[in-house]
Structures are given as structure tokens and as C-alpha cells.
């Protein structure tokens, strides 16, 4: 796991998981799996933009693009200078 994957995974675990026994990895479906609802995606987008000093266009911040940690990292890398 690279640094970005770890940062994003740690944030998702802290921000969204309620049950202690719920385990996720970089390919766990977050939105389609019901862990992150599309309403709560907003805080994830804000975190990524602040952490990596980027701006993700709203039309790119889709449930599909945010569905796994790996997909999120792919999206972030498109915008990181």
C-alpha cells in the first residue's frame, strides 16, 4: 500500500466506520457497498481537496469515482501537480 492509499483508507475508516469489526481494504466498495452514502461523500471530497491542495470538479466527483480507495487515489492523481 502506498502513502496515498494509506492516508485515504485511514480517513475513510475514521470518518465512516461505526462497527469495530467492520474491515475494509483498498478495493472494498464504499458507496455501492453502503459504507459511505452519497450524501456523506461531500466531506470525503473536501478532505481530499484540502489534503492534496487540489480542486476536484463536481462532475468528476461521482459515486463511481469514489467507490473504492483505489479509485479515489486514481482520481486524486489526475489533479495532483
Amino acid at each position: 500500500m502506498d502513502d496515498m492509499q494509506k492516508v485515504v483508507l485511514d480517513y475513510v475508516i475514521e470518518e465512516y466506520l461505526e462497527d469495530e469489526d467492520e474491515e475494509i481494504d483498498v478495493d472494498t466498495p464504499l458507496i455501492s457497498g453502503g459504507i459511505v452514502d452519497s450524501f456523506s461523500m461531500v466531506s470525503l471530497k473536501r478532505f481530499l481537496e484540502n489534503k492534496y491542495d487540489i480542486s476536484i470538479p463536481d462532475d468528476k466527483a461521482t459515486p463511481e469515482a469514489f467507490d473504492t480507495v483505489n479509485r479515489i487515489c486514481d482520481l486524486v492523481k489526475e489533479y495532483v501537480k
Binding site: E18, G33, G34, F39, S40, V42
Partner: protein, 415 residues
């Protein structure tokens, strides 16, 4: 545009998929007034069956109360059937004003404005009060109507883990730069039956200079010593900035809702809330009925006291039988089943036993959290609850879920 065959086929396939998952909802036709005992036609065309209703929001048993019905008749005779108008044009009668004042007094707020429903109140309140540069911070389990209302508002939005005060405080710190902040919660959560920690939330809101919004639809009339609501239970009457609540549950069960709170915020709704400006006023017959309900509640707490006793008895009975319940002390008692089809099947079997209780599953609740949500009423007598417990136990044994843990039920039936 013509509804061509391809479109018809597309939607028929979508509906077929829902049916195949065993989660297709079918209405049941009730041929009697709403009460603890009702007569039901289900499936359509079958003969009427007498069943015990365990899933109405009729918490105080007032939906068919003879005094309420009589008052509604008198309202029809004295004020007519419909106003054919929105409030601000020619849709306000003296009885609308009277009801707003009665609700203000009952809730301990500064002012109240009626809406055609609490769904409408929630749709209109946020966009009337907040705008760009403000932030709404909502509990992750707020009602669907609040989510819809938040979506209509241009203020920023964030969420906090359900009832997690540490997480809420983090979010208040994160958004400390916003002009106006509003923390948003249900008073009693409609699917889980737990209550918001309003005392702690009031303290946090004071600390971070945020407003507090509470939808008390599943509390007004019966939560708290005199039934004022969740704020009375937590000793924070006068500290809630905005309430919404409904007249469609404990307060008669017909229709209508309101926003109640700080007078400036209520006035903003009167000036700007779209459902208030563009939707028909509450009909006089409903207002007259709710006014009678307010009279009844102001005289005695016997109904909310009976509801409290019934709730304790019901929760204890289900726990003793071996069902998994969500923790709480409200009359909303979810029996956790986790699997959607299991919830649907148990609901159907309960119906055969003469008990009317519905299964709830995605998207009404999160995936893997299917349940049968029972709701207790002051209209229930002990014999209703005993009969229902007997039926639940019989059906629970059939599916071998009694005394099982969550893990064991999921292993048997999946998620």
C-alpha cells in the same frame, strides 16, 4: 412523449427485479378507522381479516377518537371543507392562527408556522433560513424528508456519525469559519427508535455558536413527562432554535405539520419557504381536529403514561422471547432481522397470525439492516400486546431466530 414499448419494457424489467428480490411492496386495504384493531383486505379481493395493528404512528390512540372526530365535524360545519388557497393569499382562517399559538405554547417556543405536512416543513425550512456561506451539519440517520430539504438548500452540508457527540464536535470545529451553522437531528429516530442526546447537543451548539434543529415528529405529544417532546425529556425546553413536527402521527394522524422556534426564523419561513408559498393550506377540518387534540393533551397525561407502560411491557416481552431489538425506550421498537426477504416473510407470516407489522429494508434502511418496526400505541390494551407477543414468538420459532445473535441470524439468512 408517447410511452413506447421499449420504455414500458424497461420499467417492467425494473419492477420484475424488485419482485425477484422478494422486496416488492404491496398495499393492504384497511376497511375500518385506524385503531389497535383494524379490518384489512389483503391480498386485494380477499375477504376482510381482523388484525392487530402494530405499525401505526397512532401513538396516543387519537386517530379515531370520538371527540376528535366530533371536533372535525364541527370544523367542517363552521369553517367549510377546503380553502382553495395558499396561506398568504386567502388561505388563513382564525383557526390556523389559533393552532399556531397553541403549538407555540405546547412546545415552549417563540412562534409557529403551519405547513401542509412535516415533509413540506422540512423541504422548506433550510432554504428559507440558510444560504451560501452557511453550513448544515446533520446526523447520518436523519429522516428522508430532512435529507430532501438539505438538498434544496445552497448552504454547505456535512454529516456526523449517528449520535456521536465527539464526531459532531469535530465537525463544528472544522466548520467554525462558516457564517451560520445549523446542527440537524431527529428528536426520536424513526427507524431505530433511539433519541438524540439533546442536552449534549445544546451544550455543543452554545460552545460553537451553532443553531440546533430538531424534527420531533416521532416525539411530539408523548415523549417527556408531559409529552412536549424530546427537548422536555432532556431538560432543554427553550434551547432548541427550530423544531419541525407533524400532526400526522400522535396529534390525530390526519395531516399537516409545522416549523416552530425562534420568531425570526419562523418569520423567515413565512416570507420565503416554498412549500408555504406554493402549496395549499391545511384544510379547516384537520385544523379543528388538531385543536381538539391539543385540548385533550393539555388536560391530562394519561395517554402518554399508558403508552409508556405499554412500551416497557412490549420491549420486555420481545427481549424475553429472544428477539434482537435496537436499544431504546421509545414506542418505536425495531426487531432486527438484517435480511430483507426474512423481514418480508416474517411480516407475511405475522399477518396470517392476525398481526399487522411491516418489514423495512433498503432503501428505507441501510443494506443489511432489515427489520420489522413495531410501534406501540396508547390504544393497545394488554390483551393486544399478549396476542402479538404470542404471534411473534410462534413466527420467530418457525424461522429459528429466537435467542440467536446478529452473527448467527446473518449466517442463517445472509445480508
Amino acid at each position: 412523449m408517447a410511452f413506447v414499448k421499449e420504455q414500458r419494457d424497461f420499467y417492467q424489467n425494473q419492477l420484475k427485479e424488485i419482485e425477484e428480490t422478494g422486496t416488492f411492496k404491496k398495499e393492504r386495504f384497511i376497511h375500518s378507522p385506524q385503531d389497535a384493531d383494524i379490518e384489512v383486505e389483503f391480498p386485494a379481493g380477499s375477504s376482510l381479516k381482523k388484525v392487530i395493528n402494530m405499525c401505526a404512528n397512532n401513538y396516543l390512540g387519537l386517530s379515531s377518537h370520538p371527540e376528535v372526530v366530533k371536533a372535525a365535524h364541527e370544523g367542517l360545519d363552521s369553517r367549510g371543507y377546503g380553502m382553495s388557497s395558499v396561506r398568504f393569499i386567502c388561505g388563513t382562517q382564525d383557526i390556523h392562527d389559533e393552532l399556531e399559538k397553541r403549538v407555540t405554547e405546547f412546545l415552549g417556543t417563540e412562534d409557529t408556522i403551519l405547513f401542509p405536512s412535516c415533509m413540506d416543513a422540512n423541504a422548506g425550512v433550510f432554504e428559507a433560513i440558510l444560504s451560501k456561506g452557511d453550513v448544515m451539519i446533520s446526523d447520518r440517520l436523519v429522516h428522508a424528508s430532512i435529507i430532501d430539504g438539505i438538498r434544496l438548500c445552497s448552504a454547505d452540508h456535512d454529516t456526523f456519525k449517528h449520535s456521536n457527540m465527539k464526531h459532531l464536535e469535530k465537525k463544528l470545529q472544522l466548520h467554525s469559519d462558516k457564517k451560520n451553522k445549523m446542527v440537524i437531528t431527529d428528536g426520536v429516530f424513526s427507524m431505530d427508535g433511539d433519541t438524540a442526546k439533546l442536552d449534549e447537543m445544546v451544550e455543543l451548539c452554545k460552545k460553537y455558536n451553532a443553531m440546533l434543529f430538531v424534527d420531533d415528529s416521532h416525539a411530539t405529544g408523548f415523549i417527556g413527562k408531559t409529552g412536549r417532546g424530546t427537548h422536555e425529556k432532556y431538560g432543554v425546553v427553550g434551547d432548541i432554535d427550530v423544531f419541525t413536527t407533524t400532526f400526522g402521527k400522535a396529534l390525530g394522524g390526519a395531516s399537516g405539520g409545522c416549523v416552530s422556534g425562534r420568531k425570526e426564523l419562523v418569520e423567515m419561513c413565512r416570507q420565503k419557504a416554498r412549500p408555504y408559498l406554493f402549496s395549499n393550506t391545511i384544510s379547516p377540518v384537520v385544523v379543528a381536529g388538531v385543536l381538539k387534540v391539543m385540548d385533550i393533551l393539555s388536560k391530562t397525561t394519561e395517554r402518554r403514561d399508558k403508552l409508556e407502560e405499554n412500551t416497557k411491557y412490549w420491549r420486555q416481552g420481545l427481549t424475553d422471547a429472544g428477539f434482537i431489538l435496537k436499544e431504546g425506550d421509545t414506542p418505536i421498537v425495531p426487531i432486527m432481522l438484517f435480511n430483507a426477504k426474512l423481514a418480508q416473510d416474517i411480516s407475511n407470516d405475522l399477518y396470517k397470525e392476525g398481526i399487522y407489522a411491516i418489514g423495512f429494508f433498503f432503501p428505507v434502511v441501510a443494506k443489511g439492516q432489515a427489520r420489522i418496526r413495531t410501534q406501540i400505541s396508547a390504544a393497545h390494551d394488554k390483551h393486544h400486546l399478549d396476542r402479538a407477543l404470542e404471534a411473534f414468538t410462534k413466527v420467530g420459532k418457525k424461522y429459528d431466530i429466537l435467542g440467536k445473535s446478529k452473527k448467527e441470524v446473518i449466517e442463517m439468512y445472509g445480508l
